[in-house]
Every structure is written in structure tokens, then in C-alpha cells.
């Protein structure tokens, strides 16, 4: 954009300037004619078990699934839905019926047409099997009045439906392939599924690589630009970054090590962006077991909140690359509000609250344990160790408990065998999908990780969250969430620390790197390689 004046000068100064412009500024123009062909190697440390995102949540499956399967809608860089497999859609006046028109001539990778029958069958599979049950929970019926029309009838208005129909959350599967009487969750076809998206999967070696090849019959004319995408799996972020530096891989999303990000910033020929993660909305937080005798007192939790310096975490531990988090949603969410209890670092307040609660100076001795998700060094372990040091300053003795692996940690937390734990939880675009689960009284479900493991229950919060979930008017919805977040932060079942500093690293040859709200979990049909 900055170069537009040069353009105008070119017309004035003629040929010489034109040569200079062509020589030195070409990579900076976004609107260049895309080149076709080439293989993009994407580095990943995520290891999917299978590729059917209709029955499996999580980034590992979502990234390849967004290439293999089309969804009804898609998103760009903001939270405005765009047409994808559906070319248009509209709500009924009471917001309870959503009618979508499908694109003409769209086909699955086996050449059979994508019809409304396939769409409603897929949506039912998601409704019955996907772990995010709240996505389609208010839906009464999916109907297919004609092959190009899908009607979704809901019990109540359900504004989150548009987001739920996008990206890797509700992939459209071929009914004629998958409807074979087998349990969809363990169907062997989930490994090499016949899809509907820009790329078809031709090889999948679990733990090693996934080969995706251009589907020539893709319903968007002329796309995708790439011939193929190879998702290569690496043991850890270090080896993935080495692969980027050696040119073995050209794209590496979801890098959260600030040390490696800082190193890549100095690397030649490499681009870095923190865009593409608004949809995931990843928050690193400290969760309290509110049934712990000491932590059941809100003053103790507030004292802990005041004793933790978010700036130390974001500036010193994360090299200035992570942003402080202050509430249940990330700053880029449309529902973000400034008006919450922030608990900015204040040791005097912390000590006063602790004394009031009967601990601290002259009171009872407080000893607590902190857990953390293993193998996430900077975001989890380092912060847990910092919490230990920070709480020592207000007289709380914290012991750090290490878990040998993720299942051990998840088992401890989901069975309430903890005092405090560091955790990382994703917003998943809409509060109904990724936020409610942490706070609703009805979601205190023993044994399930990332449910309301804090066992926090406030009926007022439940009422606000449930009302907001069925509020079709965006401004009123935002206001209801603001009230809920205010109440939640006052009650502080969770102390929000920082947003996970996910970055996407790309070789400069990669054009249009994935920076929509879903980032790498969105279709990469517009990515192209500059030869």
C-alpha cells in the first residue's frame, strides 16, 4: 500500500523508474497474478489419529480436514461469514430457520455431485458425534426440500450456527461413501476419506506425513493454485524450525515458542505473522479448584490474581510476544470487553485480601499445589514455576506437581484431584462453542477434560450465558456477554494470564499465507508459490 505513490511517479518519470520499481518492489504487491503449481511442504508437530473432522475436534485433524472437506460457509480475516459451498443463506424473521442455497455443479472427489442430502446427512453426523455438542444442540431438524437447498430449523435463535457451519467444524461428507452401516467414529475410511474440498488426500502415514493433491473438479473455478500440499510431521518445534531454515518446509503454523519466533525474526527470506488465530482464541490461564477449602474463598482467589504479574509473563518470560489475557475471550473476539475485573499486579491488595480471608500474616499457613500441561515449556511449565515464586511473596507456599504425560494431567484435573492448574483452552470462535463449557453449572462433568473442572457455579452467569446464546441481535448479545464476563471475573474461578502467541512462519515464496480467523484450519485454496 505504501508503494502506491511510486506507481504514480512511474507514470511521470517513465522507463527508468519503471525498471527500478520492477526490480525491487515486486514481492510487496499483494495483488499479483497468482502462479499455479508447485508443492507446499507444511511442517507440523500435531499428530492426527484420523482425518474425519466431523467426529473429531482439535487442531491436528482440523488442519488437513479443512483442505479435504468443504464446509457450507467460510471466514476471512474478520468474523463476517462468506459463501463457500453455500452461495447464499438467509434467516427467517424469527431467526429460527436458516435456509442455505448450495452451489451448482459441486462434486465430491469421486466425481459424484454434492447434494443437500449429503449436507444434511453430514450435519446429523456432526450433531450426533462431534465433541462440541453445543454447536448444533438447538437444531430441531435439517431438511432438504430440493437438491440445492438446505433448511435448518432451530428451537431457539442460535447465532453461533453460522460459525459452526464454517471451517473444519462441520465438514461435508459424501453420504454414499460413509453411510455404510459402520460406526462413523471408527470407520476405516476416516484415514483416506473421499472429500469435498480443494485437495484430496492420497497418502496418510500416521506420525509421518499426509499428502494432499489438487482436486481438479473443485467447485471454485481455477482453485486451488497449488498442485499439492504435504503435511510433514516433526517431533518438536525445534526440528520443525530447522526444517523451515533449511528450506525443507515452506510453511509452519502454530509455533508458540517465543525463543524460536525471535530466532526466526532474524532469519533471511522468512515471513512471520501472528494473524490466523482469532478463531481458535487460545488462552493460557490459571484455573482454581473452587471446591478446595482455601480456594473456595473468593478472596483467596482474588489475592492470587493480584499477586501474579501478567507483564512479567508476557514481557520477560515470553519475550514480549504474548498478549495479556483478562477475560474468557481473546482480544480479537467480537465479544471482547474492557469492563471486567482485571486483577492488575498489586501486592498490597493481595496481602490485604489474604489477611481478610484468615491467611497470610498472623493467619493460617496456606499451602497449595500447582499442575501444568506437560511438554509445553514456556507457556505452561515456566508460568507454573513463576506462580510458585510470585505467590511466595504473599506467603503462600506452592509446590509444583509435574505430570509425566498429557493423559496423566488430564485425568488428575478432570477428576478434581488438584488445587490449581495451568491450562490452555481455546475459544473456538463463538462463546457458545468454546467458552460456555468452562463456566456453566450443567457442564461440571467428572472425568471430562476442558469441561467445568473448576466446579464453578453461579446461576446468574448461567442465565446470562444462556440468554446470550439465543440472542440474535449482535449488539444485545455482546452486552449480555459483557455482563457475564464481568461477573465471572469478579468471581475469578480462573485467572487469565496470556494469549498463546501462536505464529505462522512462511518462506517468502509462499503467497497468501493462511491468515483468516481459522488460519491453518481454513482452506488453503488461495495459497500459491512464487517461482
Amino acid at each position: 500500500m505504501k508503494l502506491t505513490p511510486i506507481f504514480s511517479r512511474r507514470t511521470l518519470l517513465g522507463g527508468v523508474a519503471a525498471l527500478i520499481v520492477l526490480a525491487c518492489s515486486s514481492p510487496l504487491f499483494a495483488q499479483e497474478e497468482p502462479q499455479r503449481g508447485g508443492t507446499l511442504v507444511m511442517a507440523s508437530t500435531q499428530k492426527p489419529r484420523h482425518l474425519n473432522a466431523a467426529v473429531q475436534s482439535g487442531i491436528a485433524t482440523a488442519v488437513p480436514a479443512a483442505q479435504i472437506f468443504a464446509t457450507l460457509l467460510r471466514y476471512g480475516e474478520d468474523f463476517t461469514p462468506q459463501p463457500y459451498l453455500a452461495e447464499s443463506w438467509e434467516f427467517s424473521p424469527d431467526n429460527k430457520v436458516l435456509t442455505l442455497k448450495l452451489r451448482q455443479g459441486a462434486t465430491f472427489h469421486d466425481g459424484k455431485p454434492i447434494t443437500s442430502e449429503d449436507v444434511i446427512w453430514s450435519l446429523n453426523v456432526v450433531k450426533d458425534n462431534h465433541p462440541f455438542s453445543s454447536m448444533l444442540e438447538p437444531v430441531e431438524a435439517f431438511e432438504a426440500p430440493d437438491p440445492q437447498t438446505v433448511v435448518i430449523r432451530m428451537k431457539t435463535p442460535h447465532p453461533a450456527i453460522l460459525l459452526a457451519l464454517s471451517s473444519a467444524l462441520t465438514p461435508i461428507l459424501p453420504k454414499h461413501v460413509f453411510d455404510d452401516g459402520q460406526d462413523i467414529k471408527s470407520n476405516p475410511k476416516n484415514n483416506l476419506p473421499v472429500g469435498s474440498g480443494p485437495f484430496k488426500v492420497t497418502k496418510f502415514e500416521p506420525g509421518q506425513y499426509i499428502v494432499l493433491e489438487r482436486y481438479d473438479g473443485f467447485f471454485l473455478e481455477g482453485k486451488p493454485y497449488l498442485d499439492s500440499i504435504v503435511i510433514r510431521q516433526y517431533q518438536d518445534a525445534n526440528s520443525a524450525v530447522l526444517a523451515m531454515e533449511s528450506g525443507e518446509a515452506q510453511l509452519y503454523p502454530l509455533l508458540d515458542s517465543t525463543r524460536l519466533i525471535r530466532r526466526l525474526e532474524k532469519a533471511q527470506g522468512m515471513g512471520l505473522t501472528d494473524k490466523g488465530y482469532a478463531g481458535i482464541g487460545p488462552i493460557n490461564w490459571l484455573a482454581f479448584n473452587t471446591k478446595n477449602p482455601a480456594l473456595s474463598d473468593v478472596r483467596v482467589r482474588q489475592a492470587i490474581g493480584y499477586a501474579i504479574d501478567r507483564n512479567f509473563v508476557t514481557k520477560a518470560l515470553h519475550a514480549g510476544l504474548s498478549k495479556p489475557a483478562i477475560e474468557p475471550v481473546v482480544e480479537s473476539s467480537p465479544f471482547f470487553t474492557e469492563d471486567v475485573a482485571r486483577y492488575d499486579f498489586d501486592l498490597d491488595k493481595a496481602k490485604a485480601l489474604l489477611t481478610e480471608a484468615g491467611y497470610g500474616d498472623g493467619g493460617k499457613k496456606l499451602e497449595l499445589q500447582i499442575d501444568y500441561i506437560p511438554d509445553i515449556e514456556e507457556q505452561q511449565r515456566a508460568v507454573a514455576e513463576y506462580v510458585k515464586a510470585a505467590l511466595a511473596k504473599i506467603g503462600i507456599t506452592v509446590s509444583v506437581r509435574a505430570s509425566p504425560d498429557f493423559p496423566t494431567w488430564a485425568q488428575r484435573i478432570s477428576n478434581y484431584d488438584f488445587d490449581m492448574t495451568m491450562d490452555q483452552v481455546f475459544n473456538w470462535g463463538d462463546p457458545v462453542i468454546g467458552v460456555n463449557r468452562t463456566y456453566l453449572c450443567s457442564n461440571i462433568r467428572e472425568g471430562i477434560i476442558w469441561s467445568n473442572t473448576q466446579q464453578y457455579c453461579n446461576e446468574n452467569v448461567d442465565k446470562l450465558l444462556n440468554e446470550a446464546g439465543v440472542e440474535a441481535d449482535q449488539a444485545r448479545r455482546k452486552d449480555l456477554y459483557a455482563q457475564a464476563f464481568k461477573q465471572i471475573t469478579d468471581d475469578i474461578p480462573i485467572h487469565y494470564i496470556n494469549e498463546v502467541p501462536y505464529h505462522t512462519v512462511y518462506n517468502q515464496a509462499v503467497q497468501n499465507p493462511p491468515i483468516s480467523i481459522w488460519g491453518p484450519m481454513g482452506p488453503m485454496d488461495e495459497v500459491w508459490l512464487k517461482q
Binding site: 530466532r263 520477560a316 518470560l317 514455576e385 515464586a389 511466595a392 506437581r401
Partner: protein, 292 residues
């Protein structure tokens, strides 16, 4: 029984004094002793001279040594004082080393003693058990033990002890097999001494010298083991140890060399000291080398 034998020896110098004489004359052994003494002094007297909590955040993270005169060796990735960590960590590391060596000796000597003394099916049984433990890769086995239980300092010492006793057992067995055929053992048997008496009061004292050497070397090995486990993230996060410092600092090796290098140097010096002392003891106790 031995009281009479002792009074009849005219020389004032016992075998221990003789061994010390040989030990003293070896510069390498004395260097080892000096290193060990310094490390022990630092870890035990240090807290009185330099009182900083090793877990307290005192300064900006990753400040290099000498950046601030009050923090002579710089800070780690959380801004904790490295010197305080080295002092506190030394205690934990030495404690793990000694505890692991003790566990190794107890298990190894008991099993080796019975196997060597009785021979026959007892020997067969105990040696098969020993071999079973011997063929397990020690680091992997220790990782499994620490993972199954909590990674506390005691469990780490226990894990190291459990994986390193077979060598001691084999050594003990060999010594017992040799000594049990000697005449003084037969003499004890002739005057009616029980098995327990012979094993623990007659043979064991005579088998001790090589076992002491082996125990010393085990301490060094245990310290390295603890560092190795910590490097893999399997150390007690609530007790500052050199291994923990290396384990949590390894990510920063390229940006801040001192975080990992300084505890690494301490481990190197300590293990070097222990090994030199062990070699010195070996020379001092080994009769064949006494005429050197």
C-alpha cells in the same frame, strides 16, 4: 576372637593408616579430595554467607553474570539467582548421589553376599534376578520408575539405586566366593560360628575395600544420572538441584550459555572429584600396587 590378634600386632600403623599414606602420595587423588571438599564446603557453608532463596525471582530473566554486582552469576529464564541455585542445588545433588549409592550398596551387598556365600540354587536364583535387572537399559528403566511414581528427590534416588545395584551385587558375590574358602573362614566355622556371623562379621569386613571403591564411583554415577533424568524433565520441581537447573535452562542454551553451563561445570567438577577419590582409594586398598 580378633581381640587377641590385634594386641599381638606390634606395629602402631593399621591398614587404614597405610592406605591413607598411599592415597596421600597420589596427586590426582588429593586433587579429587580437594574438589570434593570445596563442593561440600560451598553447599553447606554457602547458605550462611549468601542468603538468597533459589526460587525467588530477583532480577530480569537471563541477565548475564556480572550484569549486576549483587547477582554475580546472573539469572535463569525466570530471573532466579544462579549462584543461589548452585549452592542450594549442590545439597540436593549430593544428597541424591549419596542416597542412591547407599541404596545401591544395601541391595547389592545383601544379594551378592548371600549368592556368594551359599552358592548352589540360592546363587542361581539371585544371579538370575541380578541378570534380569542388568539387561534392562538403566536410563530407560529409571525413567519408568520415576514416571510411575512422582518425580520427588527420594524417588529419583530410589530409581537410580534400583537400576545400579547389579554391579555391586556381582562384585560382592565374587569377593564372597573367594573369601569363603579361606582358612580363617573355615576356622570360624570349626569353632561353631553361625552363617550370619560369618557373613556379616567375618567375610564382609574383609570384602569391604573394593566395595568402598565401587560405592564411591556409584556416587559420581548417580549424580550424572540425576542430571540426565532432569534433562529429560524428570526431576523434583520443588527442590533446586543442578539437574533441575540444566533441565529448565536447556531451552535457552543458545541465548544464555550461563544458565546451563554453570551447573554443568559444577556437576563436572563434583563427578571428577568423586572419580579421582575413587581411583585413589582403589590404589590404596589394592595390595598388589602397594609396592609401587
Amino acid at each position: 576372637m580378633t581381640a587377641q590378634a590385634r594386641t599381638s600386632v606390634p606395629a602402631a600403623r593399621g591398614p587404614m593408616a597405610e592406605a591413607w599414606d598411599i592415597f596421600r602420595r597420589s596427586p590426582a587423588a588429593m586433587l579429587g579430595l580437594l574438589l570434593l571438599t570445596l563442593v561440600v564446603l560451598m553447599t553447606f557453608a554457602g547458605p550462611f554467607l549468601y542468603h538468597v532463596d533459589p526460587f525467588e525471582i530477583v532480577w530480569a530473566p537471563l541477565s548475564p553474570p556480572g550484569d549486576d554486582p549483587t547477582i554475580p552469576l546472573g539469572t535463569d529464564n525466570l530471573g532466579r539467582d544462579i549462584l543461589a541455585g548452585l549452592i542450594a542445588g549442590g545439597r540436593a545433588t549430593l544428597a541424591v548421589g549419596f542416597a542412591a549409592a547407599l541404596i545401591t550398596m544395601v541391595i547389592g551387598v545383601v544379594i551378592g553376599a548371600y549368592a556368594g556365600f551359599y552358592g548352589g540354587w540360592v546363587d542361581d536364583l539371585l544371579m538370575r534376578v541380578t541378570e534380569f535387572f542388568q539387561v534392562l537399559p538403566p536410563l530407560l528403566f529409571a525413567m519408568v520408575v520415576v514416571t510411575l511414581f512422582q518425580p520427588t528427590l527420594m524417588n529419583v534416588a530410589l530409581a537410580i539405586g534400583i537400576v545400579s545395584w547389579p554391579q555391586t551385587a556381582r562384585l560382592t558375590r565374587a569377593e564372597f566366593r573367594r573369601i569363603r574358602t579361606l582358612e580363617y573362614v573355615s576356622a570360624m566355622r570349626a569353632i561353631g560360628a553361625g552363617d550370619g556371623n560369618i557373613i556379616w562379621r567375618v567375610i564382609l569386613p574383609n570384602a569391604l575395600p573394593p566395595l568402598i571403591v565401587s560405592a564411591t564411583l556409584t556416587i559420581g554415577m548417580a549424580i550424572l544420572f540425576e542430571a540426565g533424568l532432569s534433562f529429560l524433565g524428570l526431576s523434583d520441581p520443588n527442590v533446586m538441584s543442578w539437574g533441575l537447573m540444566i533441565g529448565s535452562g536447556r531451552e535457552y542454551l543458545l541465548d544464555a550459555w550461563w544458565v546451563v553451563t554453570l551447573p554443568g561445570v559444577m556437576i563436572f567438577l563434583t563427578v571428577l572429584g568423586v572419580s579421582l577419590v575413587g581411583d585413589g582409594l582403589n590404589d590404596a586398598f589394592n595390595p598388589r600396587l602397594r609396592e609401587r
